[in-house]
Symmetry: C2
Subunit: 229 residues, 2 copies
Amino acid sequence: MLNNYNTEDKVLLAVDCIIFGFDQEDLKILLIKRDFEPEKGKWSLIGGFLKMTETLDDAANRILNHLTGFDKIYMEQLYNFSKIDRDPVERTLSVAYFALINIEDHDEKLIEQYSAKWFSIEEAPSLIFDHNQMVQKAILRLRRRAISKPIGFELLPEKFTMRQLQKLYESILDEKLDKRNFINKVNGLDILVKLEEKDMTSSRKGSYLYQFDKEKYDRNVEDGITFKI
Amino acid sequence: MLNNYNTEDKVLLAVDCIIFGFDQEDLKILLIKRDFEPEKGKWSLIGGFLKMTETLDDAANRILNHLTGFDKIYMEQLYNFSKIDRDPVERTLSVAYFALINIEDHDEKLIEQYSAKWFSIEEAPSLIFDHNQMVQKAILRLRRRAISKPIGFELLPEKFTMRQLQKLYESILDEKLDKRNFINKVNGLDILVKLEEKDMTSSRKGSYLYQFDKEKYDRNVEDGITFKI
DNA sequence: ACAAAAGTGTTGAGGATACACCCATGC
DNA sequence: GCATGGGTGTATCCTCAACACTTTTGT
């Protein structure tokens, strides 16, 4: 039995995270202004290096937790970027992750401390290395996910209105949706509970609040009903 | 400007390939019997280590070429597997790739030389490390691809019958399809050319041969027509 | 009374599915 | 002449898209 693969090359493995948020208007991503070389002063995704003692998911969690202050974020491995000279300092591969967080209840202080800032997708600055490419790929993945899994709720507060949910889907899919068709579809999925409460901030009439009901969702999925918006 | 990221850990990166083929009956995968430690004598995916001087795609191509003898294989990056102890010898991450090859025109000798063998998905032996998991993931990816991109043709000879194409899709999707509906759908896509020739091996009557027409396909895609079986 | 957003159903078209019989040929 | 797989069309269902008016309430 071997003890090691001595003759093989070892490489540095970075983990970079595309963090999506939603501010009731636009889909946004969280970027940081680098305060270290290379490319100091430019905008980039948050990232870090994989440690010998952790899995990739662990590393992505650690990095996300460090910046946003919380755990149990929806997170998915996205793709590897491995161009030889993608990092000018040294040969480095990067594993991109994408994450969804509720923009409202995350820690402002941490974000300030790291010079991080939310940018709407259209207004995001150009990023270092191949990070723009990563963001593009993440958006496409997010779209595919959004229409096949109920991940949208990860981006909303616990209680939300139908209008908010619709706006979120509109900004993810980058297209206008019909109000009635959207509501009919969502109601057809039977994964929300309508609350008695109304949100009065958005209109005179007020609009009912809803909650995502994970149990209902799981039951539906078990019964073979597929989520599809 | 930095010259290196001295303090960070480096890791071994393996590339493992799930190679799919189709023998007119079943969907198959190509496996090798390992003639080296660890797990010598057991079945595994083919793989190798990433070299400092190549991208992941390069590495996957090199490994595939080495075993099958040809280049320009349809190939896709699948996922990273990074459990700490997945390889008992040493901490190793693996990037899984899946590939499609035409089972008929590949090099028998190379395959013998490497003790490689085609297994139908159901009859495949248990594999080393986390390779079974990789295969499962590859099958799911293949299914999603097959209904949204015309990758099926990569697995068939240049000229094929409708029955062959249908059988291929049936084995990828693991369900029976209706003959007439399938033909109508495929013809509706307008991406095949019907040849004058018939294949006489499968029946008395003989069945017409078709060819995938990449130009037609590209034109249709440009025009916004989506492939969907 | 009016402005501003919320809420609510129906219809029509197109795509998907289900389904059965004749054809050509080698033996 | 018969057995074998090849080829073909239609009726129905259901999903998806298009579409406009009434309600509530704060000012």
